[in-house]
């Protein structure tokens, strides 16, 4: 199978994720969309690695996974504590930082 098809798939997944971030308000869903984007880029990286015949892309994918894991830990903690205080998981309700 032509490896370029994986790239189309990665782009599709990324677009779905991005659209999700832009239109959804639920923090958990938002979070999942972010993860989707990250994984889409992972897929692209691995595909490039295969296309170019070196391991750089795969190594970068590992980095991404580590960062994504760390992000999930911190992000979920924040979302949970916000939900506890405000009884809502909508990101639009947390707009106190604006001027």
């Amino acid at each position: 199978m032509n490896p370029v098809n994986y790239l189309y798939l990665a782009a599709l997944l990324f677009t779905i994720g991005a659209a999700g971030v832009l239109v959804r308000r639920n923090a958990i869903v938002l979070f999942m969309c972010v993860e989707l984007m990250l994984n889409a880029s992972n897929l692209a990286l691995v595909t490039f690695s295969r296309l170019h015949g070196n391991l750089d892309g795969q190594i970068l994918a590992f980095f991404t996974m580590v960062v994504a894991a760390a992000e999930v830990v911190v992000g979920l903690a924040i979302i949970v504590s916000i939900f506890r205080t405000r009884h809502s998981a909508s990101v639009d309700d947390s707009n106190l930082m604006k001027l």
Partner: protein, 639 residues
């Protein structure tokens, strides 16, 4: 002996410092201290004068350097005095008349609670005036020049609680400042031309400079002289200056300070002799002022303002004479000295009359005073005869010489100037006779005045004219002696001419008329003026309320519309400009800056709205940004 020269200045300067800083302790005897300082200076002047007489004519000038004043590279200004025949003449006039007027003021200002300060200012004036005439360079002269301006300002405004006095003082200083600018530009021109502004340096090198530069220097000096000596077009302050106490008018605004312009021109003769155009300007200014002042003097009902007009006119004579060049310098100074005597005497007489008439100045409210104030009457009359040029009194000799010199100028110019001076003599006789008749002759036209003394303040009472105390009459008598004899003394053997000639130079002109004819014409003009005046004011009733009069009379009462002119041409546009600039500064310059700040603030608050706090809009802008970046990168690569 030369060490006495700085003491001439130091005595009144110390007096001024003591009186102005001394405090109330000095209130009781401060006036005598001031008089003593003036007298001391006069004594030093006499000693120096006799010392000078003892030396041959070409060895009379002495020079004392005190210290280096402003040394900056090529700019060397020294505090140095130069005493020659011209300066000692002024020194004696200033300190002599000055001492007499100090004495007079002891009586005149007896009831003023600020008398001590008055004497402090008078001493300050003497010191500044002496610096003016003793300076050996133009910059030090400038110090004296503005110093007398300051003293004049302080003394005109001595009664500061009167707004009119304060305004007059300010006006005098301002008009003088305009003249002073002329002096400072002249000094700057001298410095660029000669690298020096000492009398010796400038006069020695003047022949090397171009005619144009010399004319410029001369015109600037003339501007300075116009300011100080109240010559057209800077004459407007002198009439208002009569707001000051009368001794001040006598000393500063008649006898000494206002003649400083004549001193300046005579002193700078080396420049003027080489700049005929500047000389022509001097003569024109003198001639115009001569008539101008005389016309104003004819119309004024205020005795001091009438005398002020006369002062202007007489100084016009002097300036005219000084503008004639070597044929006139000596006579300008001679008229200056005799004028110092008789005009100071006239002013003191006027002060004495005011003293007796409860400070009334309107001559239409005088009349018949000769019986009540005999000494004042006699001394005033002698001064009167001197000023109109009655034969063999001081004014006769000095004015006659000027008229002769004017004719001797030669050509059409000579005829014009001669006629102007003759007309001036006639008008002088007219207005002085008018003053005389209105004040001392005719019927009593006294009016009650508001009583400011004693318990009945505010109540009106009739004046009780009385003769003034001895401290006032003695100076008047002494000045009357000067008015009578000075001219004769100076003319005898041409003593004054021989005295001043080494400094100013002298040449005889060629008069188209024999000297006797000129003298005859002068006397005829004088008699005509007296006669007309007698016909108008000597017979019959003088109206207490002035008649409306001809347009010329009305204009003359308003100083020939000088103030209206200044107001329309300078004051009003000036204050409009200032107001416009204030507006421009706030709305224009500051408005621009504030507008810039407001614009930045406005843009920022617009931009702030983008920060709406919604995560997704931030994410959108990130996406947008990324897209733009990627698109640009791709486009760049493909291009």
């Amino acid at each position: 002996m030369n060490s006495l020269i700085p003491l001439l200045v130091a005595a009144p300067l110390a007096g001024a410092a003591l009186l102005l800083l001394g405090g109330r302790v000095l209130d009781r005897f401060g006036h005598w201290l001031g008089t003593l300082a003036a007298a001391l200076s006069f004594a030093f002047g006499l000693v120096l004068f006799f010392d000078m007489l003892g030396r041959p004519a070409d060895d009379r000038a002495v020079h004392v350097k005190l210290f280096s004043w402003i040394p900056v590279a090529g700019f060397r200004a020294d505090a140095a005095f130069q005493l020659d025949q011209l300066s000692i003449t002024f020194v004696l006039l200033i300190t002599g008349v000055g001492t007499l007027i100090h004495l007079y003021s002891v009586g005149y200002m007896a009831h003023d609670e600020r008398r001590r300060r008055f004497f402090g200012y008078l001493n300050l004036f003497l010191a500044a005036m002496l610096i003016l005439v003793l300076a050996d360079n133009y910059l030090l002269l400038y110090v004296g020049w503005e110093g007398v301006g300051l003293a004049s300002y302080l003394l005109i405004g001595f009664w500061q609680h009167k707004p009119s006095a304060a305004t007059a003082a300010k006006k005098a200083f301002l008009v003088n400042r305009v003249g002073d600018v002329g002096l400072s530009i002249a000094i700057m021109l001298m410095f660029t031309q000669f690298g020096d502004f000492s009398f010796a340096g400038v006069f020695e090198n003047a022949p090397q400079a171009s005619q144009g530069k010399l004319t410029a220097i001369g015109l600037m000096l003339l501007l300075a002289a116009c300011g100080k000596s109240a010559q057209v077009p800077l004459q407007s302050w002198l009439g208002d200056a009569m707001e000051g106490p009368t001794p001040v008018s006598a000393l500063i605004h008649a006898a000494t300070m206002v003649t400083a312009g004549v001193y300046l021109i005579t002193r700078s003769h080396a420049v003027f002799d080489l700049a005929p155009d500047a000389q022509t300007a001097v003569v024109c200014v003198g001639a115009v002022t001569l008539i101008f002042g005389a016309v104003v003097g004819c119309a004024k009902d205020d005795i001091k303002k009438a005398l002020a007009g006369s002062t202007m006119s007489q100084i016009g004579y002097m300036v005219l004479a000084a503008g004639l060049g070597p044929i006139g310098y000596v006579f300008a100074i001679m008229h200056l000295v005799t004028h110092g005597f008789f005009k100071a005497g006239l002013f003191l007489g006027a002060g004495s009359v005011m003293h007796g008439m409860d400070d009334e100045v309107n001559m239409r409210h005088y009349g018949g005073l000769r019986k009540y104030m005999p000494i004042t009457f006699v001394t005033f009359a002698l001064g009167y005869l001197a000023i109109i040029g009655f034969p063999f009194l001081s004014g006769y000799f000095s004015k006659d010489k000027i008229i002769e010199a004017a004719f001797a100028k030669g050509g059409t110019e000579g005829w014009i100037l001669g006629l102007v001076t003759l007309v001036g003599a006639a008008v002088t006789a007219f207005y002085m006779t008018r003053v005389m008749l209105l004040t001392f002759f005719g019927q009593k036209r006294w009016r009650p005045t508001a009583d400011t003394s004693g318990s009945a303040a505010g109540e009106e009472r009739m004046p009780h004219p009385h003769e003034s105390p001895a401290s006032m009459t003695v100076p008047m008598i002494l000045l009357a002696f000067g008015s009578v004899f000075a001219g004769g003394l100076f003319t005898l053997n041409s003593s004054f001419l021989r005295w001043l000639e080494p400094v100013t130079g002298h040449s005889e002109g060629h008069s188209p008329l024999p000297s006797g004819v000129v003298t005859g014409l002068t006397i005829a003009c004088m008699l005509a003026g007296v006669g007309v005046s007698y016909l108008m004011y000597g017979r019959g009733e003088v109206p207490v309320v002035p008649p409306i009069g001809s347009p010329l009379t009305r204009a003359a009462r308003r100083d020939l519309l000088q103030d209206d002119f200044n107001h329309a041409v300078l004051v009003r546009p000036g204050s409009a400009l200032a107001a416009a600039l204030v507006y421009f500064d706030i709305k224009g310059l500051d408005g621009f800056v504030n507008g810039l700040a407001a614009t930045i603030g406005g843009v920022s608050s617009r931009l702030r709205r983008v920060q709406n706090g919604y995560v997704r809009s931030y994410a959108l802008s990130m996406f947008g940004g990324t897209l733009v970046l990627v698109a640009t990168t791709l486009l760049m690569r493909s291009a």
